[in-house]
Symmetry: C2
């Protein structure tokens, strides 16, 4: 039987388990990446594990979220990260050099390799045949130490592309169409493998827009086969020697198949406030637009900004619409500047930013109250922009630029008709990706050889092994689709405490209930209760670490988002699934007690747990966990677990588990 592309790469890296859907496998990691809001904890954990050198082929540390350095804590974080990269042997991308996914794609992404990254959009290089997965930082730290990465073998879904994109439809519309069809939960436990004759019509940067935003489907990863376009792309980066031809066998069997005829697509847009809230742009024409932003890891490349610049050449944006362009990388920015496009955009009225994640995570260019913002980003979760009750739409650079020109949402096809001289700018790659050569410090030539920790950089808290009895109040009852943004907001005032867990924990779930953190601290243990898809969104492990610090011992939810569930294991919090009826019955403040001997039950593989509520009624909750996850959970989390293992094996490298 033939293999899918996913299976081929996994097979090539398999160190434990078998490639059966749903089975846990351990894979070797070739490359890791971390960024500045998750990276500090990664390195603190790497240090806490007693490791002294990166073991993967490549590790890269980026500084992209906090490039504005609004607080000395941000700047100190960057200095710490540089020192960690130098000390332990990673590449260091300087603040202002760009977003991890963009810079990684331009410099390191390689077909056939595995990549683990402490950022949920890590799957971006899937567009050039790399199997790239986002995870919590602790998994990254362990992988960087040479340990395998464990995951349940996902379903592999064939997304067959046919036809070619018509005018004004873009790669963004492909992934928006996927979201329209499948919803933000449609990819959970799945890897999307793009195949079919439509693939060859898409360039690598178009493919990476799709793989990048595959994260919004909840997917484990997304991947394209490699072909001449991949080789050509790598050649333009001077990395043609890293090209590998890789794709599925003709007789590969998939768990499912979806077909998209590219020629059926048209400009689409996600309405507020969920990425799957997708409609054709023409259906929402006429909405006044206050702010337009081009950028982010989804659409912040040279190739994404160029069409916008071409549309703006000789034109001006509406005076009552602000337009910000935040390039994804300094290399892209330098190329655009060198070719004169930056000046053209400024002439049109664009506020041209340094390269940053910035506004995508609510840092800078927060929309005004009661205003509309169109962004080329990947997420429009309510409040993520930095203001509650925001109205953020997601779309392609072309649709965003059309709105800036018109001052309202407009289908670019209609704007072209109206203006007469506006043409689809097309999609073009630079002859050569050149620029920002001084912004990556290599591990061969580091500038630091010891860790530099500013006063805000604390230690990593450790949890005791699981005990027999777990009980306490239902500290908070939440609805469906609680995101990690709800659990630990990423706004600037909070983000700067990512390296300081006691302080950061004060903001836990504050967007749901501002008294929660104090209530949890005051309680001696307790539970969170949630509906479906708890913990979706960003991969941030702080969303598990901070509840752990506050004493939360378990989460009862109807279902969990994949990365967050792994993070709960990693920080020793018991994730239990409950059914809808029981969810309805539990009320905040109820007294919850797990009747079983928890430590023993977790270790022994017990799947069903009896939960007693208010000493009055009982429900059955399920623990869906691999043997390995059970050992981690029982040990009090992965850090304690890995450390314990390393000590017992007498080796520096985290052992296979």
């Amino acid at each position: 039987m033939g293999q899918t592309l996913t299976e081929k790469i996994l097979d090539d890296h398999l160190v434990e388990g078998e490639l059966e859907t749903g089975e846990e496998i351990g894979i070797e990691i070739d490359q890791v990446l971390t960024q500045d809001t998750t990276g500090t904890l990664v390195w603190l954990q790497f240090e806490a594990l007693g490791l002294d050198e990166v073991q993967t082929e490549l590790a890269a540390q980026y500084c992209d979220h906090q490039t504005y350095q609004f607080d000395f804590k941000n700047t100190d974080d960057h200095r710490f990260l540089r020192s960690a990269a130098g000390t332990f042997g990673a590449y260091f991308s300087r603040p202002g050099n760009g977003i991890c996914h963009n810079v990684h794609k331009e410099n390191f992404a390689a077909p056939g390799k595995t990549l683990l990254g402490s950022d949920s959009h890590t799957p971006t290089p899937g567009g050039l045949g790399q199997l790239a997965i986002g995870s919590g930082g602790l998994d990254v730290a362990v992988a960087m130490g040479g340990g395998p990465y464990y995951i349940e073998m996902p379903e592999v879904v064939n997304v067959r592309l046919e036809g070619e994109l018509p005018e004004w439809a873009t790669a963004k519309d492909v992934i928006l169409e996927m979201l329209r069809r499948l919803s933000v939960k449609g990819g959970v436990g799945k890897i999307f493998e793009y195949t079919g004759p439509g693939v060859e019509s898409l360039s690598v940067p178009e493919r990476t827009t799709i793989t990048n935003m595959g994260t919004e489907l909840g997917a484990t990863s997304s991947v394209f086969p490699t072909d001449e376009k991949t080789e050509d792309y790598l050649a333009r980066q001077g990395r043609e020697d890293e090209y590998v031809e890789i794709g599925p066998d003709e007789d590969a069997e998939y768990d499912d198949q979806i077909t998209i005829d590219l020629s059926d697509l048209e400009p689409l847009i996600s309405e507020p406030s969920m990425p799957d809230n997708v409609v054709p742009v023409r259906e929402v024409e006429g909405v006044d637009v206050d702010q337009v932003i081009i950028g982010s890891c989804t659409n912040g490349g040279y190739e994404d900004i160029l069409p916008s610049a071409k549309m703006l050449e000789g034109r001006s944006i509406q005076p009552d619409t602000e337009m910000i362009v935040a390039p994804g990388s300094k290399k892209a920015s330098e190329m655009l500047a060198r070719e004169g496009w930056t000046a053209e955009m400024m002439a049109a009225g664009v506020n041209y930013s340094e390269a940053t994640c910035g506004a995508c995570i609510g840092i800078g260019h927060v929309p005004g109250s009661d205003s509309v913002s169109l962004r080329t980003f990947n997420r429009n979760f309510e409040g993520r922009s930095g203001i509650e009750d925001d109205n953020v739409y997601l779309c392609s650079p072309e649709v965003a630029t059309a709105a800036a020109i018109k001052g309202e949402i407009v289908d670019p096809r209609n704007l072209a008709d109206e203006l007469g001289d506006l043409e689809d700018p097309g999609f073009e790659l630079p002859d050569e990706y050149a620029g920002a050569e001084n912004d990556i410090i290599t591990p061969d030539d580091p500038v630091d050889d010891e860790l530099v920790k500013g006063p805000n950089i604390g230690d990593v808290p450790l949890k005791d092994p699981l005990g027999a009895d777990i009980g306490g109040p239902a500290l908070l009852k939440m609805d469906d689709n609680i995101t990690t943004d709800h659990i630990i907001p990423a706004t600037q005032d909070i983000l700067m405490y990512r390296s300081n867990i006691p302080k950061l924990s004060e903001f836990t779930l504050s967007r749901v209930d501002e008294d929660f953190a104090q209530r949890a601290l005051d309680s001696d243990g307790g539970f969170l209760v949630a509906g479906e898809n708890y913990g979706q969104g960003s991969s941030r492990e702080h969303a598990a670490l901070c509840p752990m610090f506050l004493g939360v011992e378990g989460v009862l939810a109807q279902s969990f988002a994949r990365i967050h569930k792994a993070n709960l294991f990693n920080f020793g919090i018991v994730p239990l699934e409950i059914d809808a009826d029981d969810y309805e019955q539990i009320e905040q403040g109820d007294d919850i007690e797990i009747v079983d001997d928890v430590a023993d039950a977790v270790r022994s593989g017990q799947e069903e747990f009896t939960v007693r509520v208010n000493d009055d009624w009982e429900l059955t909750a399920a623990l869906d966990a691999s043997e390995r996850e059970r050992r981690i959970l029982a040990d009090g989390g992965k850090l304690t677990h890995t450390k314990k293992q390393a000590e017992s094996s007498g080796s520096d490298a985290p052992a296979d588990d």
Copy 2:
């Protein structure tokens, strides 16, 4: 007797008083400028005055401090300011278009005119013969309404420039030399008028670096005569018709004279943490530098960044030194981008920012802890960079760039010797100042015709005229030397409430007693009691406005700082001087009552007031006020006073007083 340039411009605009040093004069204002942290209050006051149209030749509203828009309140402020400019008839410079002083210089500054601005660096256009003065926002609002601006006639000091600057010495070194000689208090009550043969060797942008940073001397303003260089500069901006030849008479008499031989200057630097802490760069060589920033209203022009770009061409900055370039205007940025310099700077490793005040006021690129930052800015007050215990040096772009190349402080002459191929880049003007044409919205073509107030934008409270009886508790008793920073702190978390007086008032005197604001609100009126020098420091009018909002009716102090006392008059709070013995006897909570008919006594010129304490003992307090100040105080502050005057004159314009 001949006139100085200052006297000529003042004479031309005099509406009250005589040009005798120390005498109060009233002058007509031709142009006003405001920025985003002071401008909201200016327009709210303009609105409260019942005015409906700008009466000055020109008013310009800039958005420069909060361009990163890290909170929706910033974005809302910008939207309000746009609506105010549109509604009342001012130019509006969009967020991201640059720093008020740079954009004003490029577009509106004109020889012979008067300019009043609600920013301390308003004197910048003195470099092209404009008499420009910084003031509180209420003065700007009144001037914009057509009222005169009142000031004590300053001393006029002749700064005679001889010779020409040698290689690697710059205009920045001229003003640093002034600071070295005179200190930050050396210009108080003075206008510096630059004359002599050295003037013609300096281009207009060099002159504006000097006039801009004259503020750090404490000067009221600084001014240069106009000449061919001025005419040429205006011609490059397409504004040659605004050229006026203006200069002092040959026999002008000055209050004082200073001579600087430009040929004696060398690269200078201000050490932490005061601008007058000036030494030759060569004396501090070898200090490791973590951060270098080129920008600000002092050295953020095209002409300031170009030398830096030339020095960086084909070179790279040290990997452990971060370098940020934040242009002063989008026009400068667009020109540099169009000529390829932006790409060259990025190639060298520069993080290229949008145009902003940014780091100069501690917003963004805050230095790391225990680090050194070299900046081309004008102030290095401790903590201003955003971190306490900072180490900020001030220098020219050339010195800053040399440090980025070397990674440590180095005299550029020595770096040139060391590198062999580094030449003084010189100082060059663009052939034509062109760019960012879409970023100024004119009053002829506004996009708003009514005020748009977000939820954080409140009304300006008005005070009733002074009554006959004033009494209440001593709400707070303070020590000597209470600063306006104590009264209204200016940290970021509080700064965003500058448009929301009720909210801002909650922070009043919180650094002295965090319960004060609530106690004052709960009380029906009351007094502040203070020792010597009450209200020293920054001129912010919020330090009087917020106590007024809280119901404070009088301040009993041993002495007052001059500007704050003027602000107390302006907001209708009675400032009474008491002696040390009485100060000692009064206790917080004591019941205070002014025995006299206060309104009548203030109006009639009464200087001594009887104050009854706890219905038990009496003291005598003194009111030292001019007739004009007494009328303002009795009317309930300048806002009510001006409004009343306008109403009684039947005119929209605030009458002469």
